[in-house]
Symmetry: C3
Subunit: 149 residues, 3 copies
């Protein structure tokens, strides 16, 4: 049925073939009904508060969720197998004075809720860091619960 | 019976009604018997090593656990449903020369052990970061195991 | 049989008795079939990109996995009880211009794969931070799945 993928297309985010991880790890790993998803960086680079605005960073957080969903689809084949979004961890590359990390991460959370409805509501942690891989603005990882077959 | 809540009262920490999350997320989310708790910032603001002393930060870590327990109570209704504390993650906003993050996080760990006894002993990670939401000194999240009903 | 320990010896990494945690926490905590391992710092200190080279940091990441495996052995008695490596989280103390955190963390990932084969492949997140406990270069924590007895 591809309900989630169709919603993504309606929202203007068709899934693309994900890039392979830049190093020696998997896109995601399953343990029982939990799926642990690797950290994915945003395409956007730069530090929020100096190089990048809060609004740009929020948009990048949303786009990073689309990149992550493409990875998950590649791994589990069908996004409709996701039962719920459990935990989102967001690292935001922040200038020393930027403290609106929650507003940035809302770009990711809002898309997850739009896609998965009630099951998309999640726990999360939004942390500011001084540097991220390849100078990316955002890095997100997630824990999902899969449907029991 | 409210054993844990009564212990908190004895220790001088009656639970208050938690503030709502500052953005679009849940206080906690359950997956099977695990409860994933969102990152909660301390009321105390400032950087440890410059604005804030190690002792003040340790006290703030303890107080943040009380704030988290109020959120968990709001979500699962009864803290006695907690079987054990599994993992604590602490981000401590640190000046470039401050490296005693474990001593700060002990403020949180000691209260958990005092409240939950043997089941309160946990794995944890204490990390220094340059910035946190709203300039907070401490940010904690947790994974708990709930009793199987 | 101690397959994993014997492989470690062949690779030149006999397990030593782990140091006790520097503060009030466990080396690891089990919840169901998942084992949550506490953050372990590298013996190597210093910031990658200034005090420490990428190559030295990668080697330190590998050595930190050996330290973690010694802790896990101490806790669960037999490393052959590990079914798979699920998630690796790496914090790398990085200078403001160092963005090769994934290459550093590969030192850890490659050893896990060498030891555990297909089951050693894992999800992971590699994040740069400005400070770590005791000035360490690397801090790693992990989630493992244990064999169901």
């Amino acid at each position: 049925m591809n309900l989630i993928e169709n919603k993504l297309i309606e929202l203007g985010f068709p899934l693309e073939i994900p890039k392979r991880p830049v190093a020696n790890y998997l896109g995601s790993k399953r343990a029982g009904d939990l799926l642990f998803v690797s950290g994915r960086k945003s395409e956007l680079k730069g530090e929020v508060g100096t190089d990048v605005t809060e609004k740009q960073a929020k948009k990048a957080a949303k786009e990073t969720i689309v990149l992550i969903l493409a990875i998950i689809k590649n791994d589990i084949k069908d996004l409709d197998l996701i039962e719920s979004i459990v935990k989102l961890q967001g690292f935001i590359r922040s200038s020393i004075n930027f403290t609106q990390q929650p507003q940035v991460l809302d770009g990711a959370s809002e898309l997850l809720i739009e896609l998965f409805g009630k099951d998309g509501h999640h726990a999360r942690t939004a942390t500011g860091v001084a540097q991220l891989p390849y100078g990316a603005t955002i890095q997100l990882d997630m824990i999902l619960k899969l449907k029991t077959l």
